[in-house]
Amino acid sequence: MSVTARIAIGWLYLVLCGCMAPEGYEPHVPEGDPRQGREVLAELECGVCHVIPGVPGARGRVGPALADYKRNVYIAGRYPNDPDILTRFVRDAPSMSPDTAMPAIEMSEAQARDIAAYLYSL
């Protein structure tokens, strides 16, 4: 494409608002329901230790803030941030990282999936 053509296209972008941010990584949690996930997070009170946007009262600072989780590259500084691993981690962190301060809180597999789906939807 010639430079002139590109500049012409540039004008077009400008007219059409010009936002051309490339698509980010969009993880998908099979059978995870983000809306349900938010309720599970509130129900299990994960907010005592985490700041979680959209979950009332979640302003704990024991662990890292869980905002915009899909941009994080790693989980707990150790595992790649991937839906399956995240689902396992929220359910039983100590088995994956024995020195962690995050306890294993009782929940079902489905609940863990919903949580993961919500965290990725932030």
């Binding site: 299990l44 005592v48 230790c49 024991v62 024995p98 020195d99 301060a101 306890p103």
Partner: protein, 335 residues
């Protein structure tokens, strides 16, 4: 977990003082509404009708003197009757109730607990409740607990409420009216319910920064279960069984925790914080603020100042991640 009831004066528990009070309230609301409607009707009538049917004098005497006098007399009698029914629950007299209202009935005249009646001391503290069971039953004297009350159903339970610092107020709307907790004074309240379940209560007198997060649960259980529970609560804490719980116990003892908390049967004998001997069996943590599971427990220990800012427990700052989990697991094991 048994059924949790709505915290509301409009959902009073059957057989409780609150039920009588709710009835009284209803009569007053409905009566007042009726009178209001009638008065408004008369007003409209007066404005729009051309002819005065009765003499003005009859209206003034009938509606202004006779009607209020009769109504108030009936209401007073009725409310005294309700009062004496409530105090019958309190096993006192209507007169005593009246004296109580004016604060004339002093501490000195608090009768000894009736034989067979369960007496519980509840002391309001910033921002939690110290609870001490004093069952007449010999072996169950003096069981110190915190932040949760259990009562047997269909049995009046005598609460002696006071305060350890500032004025608080003990209020479980579905069970009884409010009673202030005043430093240097002990007030008495009898609660009773015939429906098992969990009733939520709330401090009802502003007592400082975390007043809003000073709640408690009252669990009503069948008599048998209740006494089993109380016998268990009277026991000291069980020794940790496995190495992980053991390390949690050690973490507790190494931290500042024993300065403020008692775990009966261990060297921890502090009294400025709630008794933790059977913390794992409670429905909530930190005076009704959090549900009780290993996550909230660990979160509370490491970050109570974010959960309940300004509360009198400092964040633990020395435990590693696995120590924190072990500590929380050990406390949860104390049922």
């Amino acid at each position: 977990m048994s059924e949790q009831h709505v915290q509301s004066v409009l959902h009073s528990a059957p057989g409780s003082g609150a039920e009588l009070l709710e009835e009284l309230g209803m009569v007053l609301y409905v009566g007042a509404a009726l009178i209001f409607v009638v008065v408004m009707g008369l007003l409209l009538h007066a404005v729009f009708s051309r002819r005065l049917r009765a003499s003005a004098r009859a209206w003034v005497i009938g509606g202004g003197i006779v009607f209020p006098a009769v109504t108030l007399f009936v209401l007073l009698t009725y409310s005294l009757a309700v009062g004496s029914a409530v105090s019958a629950l309190n096993s006192g007299t209507a007169l005593q109730l009246l004296l109580n209202c004016f604060g004339i009935d002093s501490n000195a005249r608090i009768p000894p607990p009736l034989p067979g009646t369960l007496r519980i001391n509840v002391v309001g503290k910033q921002w939690w409740w110290e609870v001490r069971y004093r069952a007449a039953d010999g072996e169950l004297r003096n069981v110190p607990l915190a932040n949760e009350l259990r009562i047997p159903v269909d049995e009046p339970v005598e609460l002696m409420v006071s305060s350890g610092d500032v004025i608080h107020s003990f209020w479980v709307p579905s069970l009884a009216g409010k009673v202030d907790m005043i430093p240097g004074r002990t007030n008495r309240l009898v609660v009773r319910t015939s429906e098992p379940g969990i009733y939520r209560g709330q401090c009802a007198e502003y007592c400082g920064g975390q007043h809003a997060l000073m709640a408690l649960y009252v669990v009503a259980e069948p008599r048998e279960r209740f006494y089993d529970w109380l016998r268990n609560q009277a026991q000291p804490a069980r020794a940790p069984t496995d190495p992980f719980l053991r390390s949690g116990y050690d973490a507790f003892m190494q931290g500042r925790c024993p300065e403020c908390h008692t775990v009966r049967g261990t060297p921890a004998e502090g009294t400025s914080g709630p008794d933790l001997t059977h913390i794992g069996g409670r429905h909530s943590l930190a005076a009704g603020v959090l549900k009780n599971h290993i996550g909230t427990m660990a979160g509370w220990i490491a970050g109570s100042q974010d959960v309940k800012p300004g509360n009198l427990m400092p964040d633990s700052e020395i435990h590693t991640g696995s120590q924190l989990r072990a500590l929380a697991a050990w406390l949860e094991s104390l049922e």
